[in-house]
Amino acid sequence: DSDKSISSDLYDISVDEAGQVVVQWKKENIKVVQSFHYYIGAVGDNSNAEKRASGAYIFRPNESAIHNFIYSGYHEIFKGPLVQEIHLTVNDHVSLVVRILDNEEQVEFEWLAGPIPIDDKKGKEIVIRYSSNLQSAGTFYTDSNGREMLKRKRNYRPTWNLNLQEPIAGNYYPVTAKISLEDRDKGYKLSVLNDRAQGGSSLTDGELELMIHRRLLVDDAFGVEEALNEQAFGTGLVARGIHYLVGGNLNNLDTIALAEKSMALKLSLRPWALFTPLNNTDNFINWK
């Protein structure tokens, strides 16, 4: 009961009053605040581009603003010799386990979202944000289907002058394995590795954002002809997945790149667990 945080050689992790997870690096002056937010999907009759609805093919929030969840939950801390965990319940449809493991460098965020409520008849798209005190100068990087990292500049396209009418959707990119940013002055790099393809962006310097779940009520008229409103057991779907948060000094870029590659492989190619119940064998040696 007295524990307020989990910690390792590298991090101190706690939950603040707003239900946000605060990760403080021990050796560097780096702090990351993890939080959940949501966008409300645009609704339209799709008669023209301005009346386009958010749907299976299109991410289009109805305004250039993000919404915060009201923290109505609680958190618990579990510590042991192998793993330390914070179980955070944000509300009745968003929760999280933050985990640090002995001998591993990453901070694990195992998120769970859904069923997304639609009682107010509004489609919602839930995102996780990792806000740091790094200055990334409008630049971030997303992977190219697990291969090389592509440089992205906020509100910019390399081959034409861009005037974005929709600054959120217009800065979203596919993230299949990794999204990262760098602070050249501090010489530090921050990355989030994901276990499945998601949309992501860096809408403010030092911030990484990934969309984890969506439930929308209107078709976006690109061919599927139905709203992205998946259901099971009479309610919306629940999604559960993992992000790894990792950081590293830019002076050791090769080492970081190698470590992140190995982590990304570990996240997508986890060992297969096969189970054999032992009904007829008393001990392992006999079984072997």
Binding site: E104, W272, L274
Partner: protein, 179 residues
């Protein structure tokens, strides 16, 4: 084999761009899930036989119950019938990577204490962690597991496997009750 052919064909269907991106209609998504589930279940005997083949020095026939390797397809909801229902079981970890890995393993259980031995018979360090309430209360989840048994599998060789023997440690009270 016909069973493997089914999985091959389903994986072919899953190359369609709607299956890759999730832009298929809902009833098609449900059909994809049905096809994938059916084909994975059908090929489970092949997976079990293959693991047995690389695991055993002798050409043992896979008829003895204790040599069957079962997959737990609902581990994403912290559900596994075998680990929940068995007092003793073996977890065999197959590493699909081309380099050795060490990995933390989480197994849903409902006992209070467990002993895990590695392939040398040595007892390894474990920890029990509660399954979060949000997972326990997931719509449609049918599981009696309340905790996850965590241990670190060290240096599973490339395209290789390692087995761990898990046994529930009964308290004195439990043993009296059983007696």
């Amino acid at each position: 084999s016909d069973d493997l052919q089914h999985l091959r064909e389903v994986m072919g269907v899953m190359q369609h761009h709607d299956a890759v991106t999730g832009t298929e209609k809902q009833h098609v998504a449900e059909d994809y899930a049905r096809l994938l589930h059916e084909s994975i279940v059908k090929s489970s005997d092949i997976i079990s036989d293959a693991i047995l083949k690389i695991a055993s020095k002798n050409n043992t026939s896979n008829t003895y119950e204790d040599t069957k390797f079962y997959s737990c397809l609902l581990l994403n909801t912290s559900t596994c019938t075998v680990s929940e229902d068995s007092k003793k079981f073996v977890v065999t970890l197959y590493n699909p990577q081309s380099n050795p890995v060490s990995s933390y393993i989480r197994i849903p259980v409902n006992g209070k204490s467990y002993i895990v031995n590695d392939h040398t018979g040595a007892e390894i360090l474990t920890q029990l962690v509660p399954i979060p309430l949000a997972v326990v209360q997931l719509p449609g989840r049918k599981s009696i597991a309340t905790r996850e048994l965590v241990f670190r599998a060290l240096n599973i060789s490339a395209f290789g496997y390692q087995s761990y023997f898990v046994s529930e440690k009964l308290s004195d009270d439990d043993e009296v009750n059983i007696a």
